[in-house]
Symmetry: C2
Subunit: 508 residues, 2 copies
């Protein structure tokens, strides 16, 4: 899948640049002539060049490979629906498609390269997964396992998604396009494989496009390439801590069940449940009240933004504020907003956040199992944002000090803005959420919609992906684990195969 | 579906405000005391209030309705998987859940209201669709048709999506959450029903939240309530024009097939195809070159932004520029960028855009059927952006003139910024794309990812929805129509029922 994503991303980059390289000189020449007022010559020039390029494009299709004509999307839909069509997955089709599309678009026709890009993606998916080409005479034994209709279809779906992802820079859109329009068959397992594939494709196209400009994104400064190192660390951490959270959650539920076996009357049981809640709230309130005392009030040095996020609203006096009271003497929405706020990298210290993180983690875990009607989402976001911010602050201390030292504060155009602890807190929140719930695509979109910020899309996707992979090695997702504890049966989409003898030889 | 969305959105708003109303006075009191340095009293106050609220919350669950405990998501997953659980869809559960959740969160526990909100959404979906409640003794005959397990499941999925949508303000995320995590069964038809439902939920919550602040969104100025009037018009237009596009596309393909029956040799046929392409490119180049001559060069009055979108880059001289040459003497990416650019409302005139729109529409339609490997996406976006911009400019002329007159230009904090033609062009592009391709969710996400702007989410969703509904009345989606023309069979997910006798009485 990663290979498909990379290849499609690279082809997308190539196609885009070939078109640009042909189109730009033509248009510039035309403009020069137009400035001199020679409209007749402009007309000759544009028509002439257009006819040459468009004819080339058309000749390729008509004589060389008629099946490469059109956008290719209808054929793709039909194939995935079960109709076999000749020549649509073929190296020669790929070449014809690429060349014809590049010539046609750069001729100035009113048409775009996106449709063919989707077909090319599917083609790459089909070809790379089989690693067998009649035209090229290649046939690798290792890929034998993928040579069945189902896997082939899945790889083609992934390739189509990667095509959209590369053409529009829209990885989530690519996945959804493949799911909604192209594919007739879809499984949940496929979702995150395609998710991964289209993420890689968007990433590759981005990297190559920006390779000529100092190896960092031109528009999206935050998405610096280096951010992916802490992102992957956060993903691993998110997966690990998320699994720990699920594990502890289950242990607490089981412990309570075990304690309940000792008490006899059902009335006592109910009272015990309420007593448990009272203990939790007492602990919570105690911590909320007293924890800020453990930290000295700091003199306010950092320029604190005011506004919606209500940063630094709860200072004790005008000159000093306490980092923890700003988190604990307010509602959770505000606390999360403050953790995620950008450009306030000196507001919290790593140790202070650690003091808050440990009791919060334990109590949130306990609270969610008590007899209350409460959800896990807010605590999950807070925990993730806490350790994300912690790591972000550490990064600033370790690597960013020479940059932030003195009066030089980070701003949007700053090259080091990637280590803004607010951005890293956001990635942390996404990773912990993913580690606990194992959602992929919906979580990505929710995080984007919460923060109203599309620029962090790729790091968030990466962190979620890593957290899911790590977490899946360790425990069930939380909701499924809770179902198990409650003794509610659930059927997976695909049956688990228990047989020792998959070929059924013993039957024969 | 709309009713479910509205109800869930309203409950979400209510829950949020109840929590705020209880929590804020407590925290403010605590802060006041803390400022006076009386930490002991603060502790007593917070613990006391917390214990009261949390006990209330717990008592409701333990004595009144134990099945409302926890977040409710595992039960939801299990129900949609086929396991029946007692009391989870019940008015009393709804009330218990609401009250317990409100008390628990405002007590300051480390827990959030999102999980219960999802369960409440599903509950509303289940209840409203059946319109039958044993607890309340209501039973309406009209809703008999929905009283089967499949529809019930679908309504519950929609309700859960609306819950997420309302809790996070994330309509797309809600739909995906419902699809990925909650539901075990899913059909494509359900996608856009749930899409609609969660859109309404997010919209309702937004409206109510902002009702106290002058009836327009606080943060997202562009999403003014009035923008939905042109949005719906654009949606209808998009559906209509999209269907026209599909219709003409098919006619051209059929016409070509008919012409080809006259020519005998296959060599001639191939030459004819190439000749057709040459004719198209000649026409295209001619129009591209000469159309700008039809418009006078205007004196540059509007402050034109420079930068990525390369606005006004192709002026003839420094003082004047030609509105159409700025679209036609550049690549299509740039042209679309210019059409979608904000705050440049005087750059194009409606008539100028109309001159461009008509030939573009016809030629794009023809080009896409020729023997070329080209896609439809770019032209679709351009056409949509063209008529969107046209309407946007008209709106400015009709209603906005007294505002923009003289030197007073719109800026981001302007109340009338909703009629920025760039924003309306974006909605137009989405609506035409939807009218042609009938995509819903993936198109929304692609548009968001292309523009990197989440604030326009709700108008875009509305336009896509309307365009899809209008278009579905008129023609097939383009890809399916093309499949039909190419005589490729495709199987729908659900079989079409042709029988006149659905009850099978004749068989008996």
């Amino acid at each position: 899948m990663g290979m498909i994503g990379f290849t499609v991303g690279f082809i997308g980059f190539l196609l885009h640049n070939v078109i640009d390289a042909i189109e730009e000189p033509i248009l510039e020449k035309a403009l020069e002539l137009a400035k001199e007022g020679k409209i007749g010559i402009v007309w000759c020039w544009r028509v002439g060049m257009g006819v040459i390029l468009a004819s080339l494009s058309s000749i390729i299709i008509v004589y060389f490979r008629p099946s490469a004509g059109g956008s290719g999307i209808p054929e793709l839909i039909a194939f995935l629906n079960g109709t076999s069509i000749r020549h649509i997955y073929n190296v020669r089709t790929l070449l014809a498609k690429f060349a014809s599309c590049a010539f046609a678009v750069s001729a100035g026709l009113f048409a775009g390269p996106e449709g063919p890009m989707i077909h090319i993606g599917a083609l790459v998916g089909a070809g790379l997964s089989q690693f067998k080409s009649d035209s090229m005479g290649i046939n690798l034994a290792y890929f034998q396992r993928f040579r069945n209709p189902e896997d082939r279809r899945n790889f083609i779906s992934a390739g189509a998604a990667a095509g959209v992802s590369s053409a529009f820079g829209a990885p989530v859109g690519g996945l959804l396009f493949s799911m909604e329009e192209v594919s007739s068959f879809w499984s949940n397992r496929l979702t995150w494989q395609v998710f991964f594939c289209s993420m890689i494709a968007a990433f590759t196209t981005n990297i190559f496009n920006s390779a000529f400009l100092g190896f960092h994104y031109q528009l999206e400064i935050l998405n610096n390439i280096i951010i992916f190192i802490p992102t992957i660390c956060l993903g691993i951490l998110g997966g690990g801590l998320g699994s720990l959270f699920v594990f502890m959650n289950l242990k607490i539920v089981r412990l309570r069940d075990w304690v309940e076996t000792f008490s006899i009357s059902s009335r006592l049981k109910k009272l015990m449940k309420i007593a448990e809640v009272v203990i939790i709230i007492t602990l919570t309130a105690t911590i909320s009240t007293t924890l800020p005392l453990a930290r000295k009030c700091q003199h306010q040095k950092v320029p604190i933004k005011t506004g919606v996020s209500a940063n630094g609203k709860w200072r004790y006096t005008n000159q000093t504020y306490n980092e923890l009271s700003s988190l604990l003497y307010t509602s959770q929405d505000h606390a999360i907003n403050q953790l995620l706020s950008r450009g306030t990298h000196k507001q919290y210290s790593p140790e202070g956040l650690l003091y808050y993180f440990i009791p919060y983690f334990l109590l949130a875990c306990w609270t969610s199992t008590a007899s209350l009607s409460v959800g896990l989402v807010m605590p999950m976001l807070t925990i993730g944002a806490l350790y994300g911010r912690m790591i972000g602050e550490l990064l600033v201390i370790w690597f960013g000090e020479h940059f932030y030292y003195g009066e030089k504060y980070s701003d949007a155009s700053d090259y080091k803005a990637w280590m803004d602890p607010g951005a890293i807190a956001l990635i942390g929140a996404a990773s912990f959420f993913a580690g606990v719930s194992r959602l992929t695509i919906s979580l990505t979109v929710i995080m984007i919609e919460i923060t109203n910020d599309v620029t962090m899309l790729l790091p968030i996707m990466t962190a979620i992906m890593v957290a899911k992979i790590v977490g899946d090695q360790l425990t069930h997702p939380i909701y499924h684990a809770l179902l198990e504890v409650k003794c509610i049966p659930i059927l997976d989409e695909e049956p688990v195969v228990y047989t020792q003898d998959p070929n059924g030889r013993s039957v024969l």
